[in-house]
């Protein structure tokens, strides 16, 4: 609406402004013309004047010169009177006359004042001179020299006078010109002043007009700005602006009440020609009857297609300058969304209250259930749990605690440790042996517990052991401060760790056994490497001996007996290096658990051969060896080297036993006999001190050694060997002497 007014004023300004430049141009044109005209007039006048004066000057000059000619002619006549002089005189007189005649003609021109003045001044002079001249001419026709002389003098005087007149004329002419100049100058100045005045006036007029236009423009701008401000506020503020007349008919409104598809939401009848009335439903009628302003009146619109919109309308009444009511002016906003949210919020809040009530009931139920669950859990724990308050009374227990210990028998089955003194509880337990720690006896335990409940100590842990019957049980007690409802309690947890400790001990033991075994396997690998290394030199030795033997054979220098001894020695060398190889091989097999080759062997022969190996030690230690070898024994199916190893091991053990005890009876007894149809038995007995009970228990176990540097391998290996043959090895524990027996399988006849 306001935009129209703004537009109008704009138009007005534009229209006003449009003729201004034209006026300006016209003024300028006129002014210029005037100036030009004046200036050119002045110039023309000046020129005319100048020409006039100049012409006058010229004429006078000419006259003077013609008179001068006359004078000259007269002079000539005087000096040399003759024809020539006379004709000259005539000529000059004629020309003077002509000149005079011309001047007379000219000086009838009386246009300007100055010229007339000059004319008036010169004329009589010219008349006078002319008259005189005529006279003079008559005179001069006489040829009387004195008369001529006189005439000449007179003429000369007149000429001088003429010259003087000419000069005066000059002066007068100059004066005239100056006057004219001055006049012109003053005329010009006047003109200029007028022009200046004109220009100033024009400028003032223009300036005023221009200012007027600027003012108008500013007004228009102001209007525009205000219109824009209004528009902006309007856009932000409200969706709908409307004005009515006194009959509540819409005079102007923004097209708010149109839905997106263009349909009208105002349910009233819309008639374009008459203007639209606001629907009654939209207005708070009471207020309007009282012609009062109202704000944020909320109402609902239902459009034709059933969609509802919520509006908030504010309006204030308009009055004319005569205080007549001329209508309402107001704004409206679509608050559908807000109303929608409000309604939903109400609904949600109602739901929430309901949900809260339900939730609370559920929570209570859950709490009860959880308490139950907790109680059951605590009761099912194997650990004994009790809670102390700060007066050393037990406030809570679990089932494990109640069922444990020696409580005072009571007929009532409802007896519980709850409410009893904690000291009493501990005293009812079997005596506790505390291990190193913060608590050393019952008193200090109770004291420490009290300090925890009083908040003076932090959590702690003690270990103690009791003897229950035959067993030694180990317990771990953990105590922790507990805060509940601003009071301090102590939570005590007692755990029976006996089994765990035993397991731990066993574990430790097994680990050490394992380490030992690992060491041994390394030893085995070492042995394997060593074996390989040893094989090389043995091969070399073997070959060298062979070569030696051959050289010996072919050598004729070494005679019979020496040669024979050499041959024997070489033979032995070869055999021994072979043996070394065999030993290495079988030892390696031992470690690798390879399958072995069994051969049928006469055991007694083997025993005798074995004795050779142990001969040095036996002899050195002054030990007697007795043999009781049964005859007619069947061959045994064995690995002879391995069995030899067993025998050597047993014999060596016997020798060492005797040596270490330094017994007086130093004898070793080896026996063979047939145990049953399938096995042959060998036994090795020594007069040593024997084994203690403890050692006997684990005699053949691995890694058991009574010797200082023993690996504890000998008997264990022996057992492995014997058992891999299918036999058995045992300690014949019937008193002295110490006897170890083992069996070997006979060769089964096919």
């Amino acid at each position: 609406m306001d935009t129209q007014d703004v537009q109008e004023s704009e138009n007005v300004v534009r229209e006003n402004g449009s003729w201004m430049p034209i006026v300006l141009v016209l003024l300028l044109a006129l002014g210029s013309y005037l100036v030009w005209n004046s200036v050119s007039s002045i110039n023309r006048i000046r020129e005319a004047l100048a020409t006039e004066v100049l012409a006058q000057q010229n004429d006078v000059e000419k006259l003077i010169s013609s008179y001068t000619d006359v004078l000259l002619a007269l002079e000539m006549q005087r000096r040399q009177p003759g024809e020539r002089a006379w004709s000259l005189l005539n000529q000059s007189l004629l020309s003077a006359q002509e000149q005079l005649g011309r001047m007379r003609q000219n000086y009838t021109f009386e246009r300007l004042d100055g010229a007339a003045r000059a004319h008036a001044f010169v004329n009589p002079i010219i008349e006078d001179v002319t008259d005189w001249l005529l006279d003079g001419v008559a005179t001069y026709s006489s040829q009387n020299p004195i008369v001529l002389e006189l005439a000449y003098r007179r003429l000369y005087e007149r000429f001088e006078a003429l010259k003087g007149i000419s000069e005066e004329t000059h002066a007068v002419a100059s004066e005239l010109i100056d006057d004219q100049e001055t006049d012109l100058g003053s005329f010009r100045n006047t003109l200029l002043l007028q022009l200046l005045a004109f220009i100033s006036l024009a400028s003032v007029v223009i300036f005023l007009l221009y200012r007027h236009r600027l003012l108008q423009q500013r007004i228009v701008l102001g209007q525009q700005r205000s219109a824009r401000r209004f528009r902006d506020f309007a856009a932000i503020g409200a969706d709908w602006f409307w004005e009515t007349d006194a009959d509540m008919r819409l005079t102007s409104d923004t097209n708010f009440l149109e839905l997106e598809d263009g349909s009208e939401a105002v349910p009233s009848s819309r008639d374009h020609s008459n203007g639209v009335s606001l629907s009654q439903r939209l207005l708070p009628l009471q207020k309007m009857r009282e012609r009062k302003a109202f704000s944020n009146y909320e109402c609902q619109l239902i459009s034709d297609d059933g969609a509802t919109r919520d509006l908030s309308i504010s309006a204030w009444p308009m009055f004319s300058s005569k205080r007549e009511f001329i209508g309402y002016r107001g704004v409206g906003s679509d608050i559908t969304q807000r109303k929608d949210i409000e309604r939903r919020l109400e609904q949600a809040s109602a739901d929430l209250v309901q949900a809260e009530a339900i939730g609370r009931m559920k929570a209570e139920a859950a709490l009860t259930a959880s308490e139950q669950f907790l109680r059951t859990t605590i009761d099912s724990l194997p650990q004994k749990i009790l809670i102390l308050d700060n007066e050393r009374l037990i406030v809570e227990t679990n089932r494990a605690l109640e069922q444990s210990g020696n409580r005072i028998e009571d007929s009532s089955s409802r007896w519980s440790w709850k409410g009893r003194k904690v000291r009493a509880f501990f005293q009812a337990q079997p005596p506790m042996e505390f291990s190193e720690g913060v608590v050393s006896d019952l008193e200090s335990l109770v004291a420490k517990l009290e300090s925890v409940t009083k908040g003076k100590s932090r959590a702690f842990r003690v270990e103690y052991a009791t003897h229950e019957g035959d067993n030694r049980c180990v317990y771990v007690m953990r105590v922790q401060p507990l805060e509940s409802a601003n009071e301090c309690f102590a939570l005590v947890l007692i755990e029976d760790v006996t089994a765990a400790r035993n397991l731990a001990e066993q574990d430790r033991r097994l680990r050490s056994e394992l380490a030992h075994a690992a060491r041994l396997s390394t030893a085995g690998e070492l042995a394997s490497g060593l074996a390989h290394e040893l094989n090389q030199p043995l091969t070399a030795i073997s070959h060298n001996c062979d070569a030696l033997g051959l050289i010996l054979q072919s050598s004729s220098q070494i005679n019979g007996e020496v040669g024979g001894t050499f041959a024997e020695m070489i033979d032995d060398l070869v055999k021994e290096s072979q043996r070394a190889g065999d030993i290495i091989r079988s030892m390696r097999q031992m470690v690798q658990n390879d399958c072995q080759e069994f051969t049928a062997v006469d055991l007694n022969t083997l025993v005798r051969e074995t004795l050779r190996l142990t001969k040095p030690e036996v002899r050195e230690n002054r030990i007697n060896v007795a043999l009781s070898l049964a005859s007619g024994l069947p061959h045994v199916l064995i690995n002879p080297v391995q069995v030899q190893q067993v025998l050597v091991n047993l014999e060596r053990n016997g020798v060492e036993a005797i040596v270490s005890s330094d017994a007086s009876d130093r004898s070793l007894h080896i026996q063979t006999d047939l145990m049953d149809s399938r096995f042959v038995r060998i036994s090795v007995a020594d007069s040593g001190p024997g084994f203690s009970d403890q050692i006997q228990r684990n005699l053949f176990a691995s890694f058991q050694s009574t010797k200082e540097n023993g690996m504890g391998l000998g008997l264990s290996l022996s057992r492995t060997i014997v058992e891999s043959h299918g036999g058995k090895i045992w300690l014949d524990s019937t008193g002295q002497p110490t006897r170890i027996c083992f069996t070997l399988p006979c060769v089964q006849s096919q």
Binding site: E533, L538, T539, S542, H543, V574, Q578, G581, Q589, D594
Partner: protein, 205 residues
């Protein structure tokens, strides 16, 4: 021809000792400290055999055995080893070694193996020469004759001239002529002999 024993072992003492032993028994002995050295420097003269240690730094004895089996030279190998590895020993025997001895062994046992190896070597030498002769005889056959020979031995025992003639699209009399010439050039006395010869020459392959 002197019989040669090649010894490859990384242990110097063993090498020397072996050399002494074997040289005394009238063999020509050459020793090498590694398989590479043997491959690079040895000039093989037959009959010969090779005493080889299994585990050596660089190329092992087993690798050398593989290498030699793929080469032109056919040398019998006796393995000696300080380790007692049964699977390894089986493997070497399967790959054609004469024997596998564990250190320390009896020298007599080794010498028996050497004798066996030498006999093998001589045998191989002989058959190699035989093969060379046969191949040169085969080369003397013309292309056509070679074709006929192939058909003769490829076919059934009683491959008739008629069948061959049909296959080659020539007359059976021509085939007979070819056949007679083949027999004489190859110096075969029967078809069976011819078949054996062609197998040796590996005609079919």
């Amino acid at each position: 021809m002197k019989r040669t024993v090649y010894i490859v072992d990384d242990d110097a003492a063993v090498r020397t000792a072996l050399q002494r032993s074997i040289q005394m028994r009238e063999f020509h002995v050459e020793t090498f400290s590694s398989a590479d050295e043997f491959l690079n420097r040895a000039i093989v003269s037959y009959p010969c055999c090779l005493i080889l240690d299994v585990r050596m730094p660089g190329m092992s004895g087993l690798d050398l055995q593989d290498r030699l089996s793929h080469s032109e030279s056919r040398i019998p190998i006796i393995f000696i080893t300080g380790h007692g590895d049964i699977p390894m020993s089986v493997r070497t025997i399967k790959k054609g070694a004469v024997d596998f001895l564990e250190k320390p062994y009896r020298v007599e046992a080794l010498m028996e193996c050497v004798d066996k190896a030498m006999a093998l070597s001589e045998e191989w030498q002989q058959s190699a020469e035989e093969r060379k002769t046969l191949l040169s005889r085969y080369a003397s056959l013309t292309t056509r004759e070679q074709e006929v020979l192939k058909l003769l031995v490829a076919g059934a025992a009683n491959a008739s001239s008629k069948d061959i003639a049909r296959d080659l699209a020539i007359s059976h009399r021509t085939v007979d002529d070819h056949r007679a010439r083949i027999m004489s050039k190859m110096q075969a006395r029967s078809l069976t002999e011819l078949s054996t010869m062609s197998k040796i020459c590996r005609v079919d392959s």
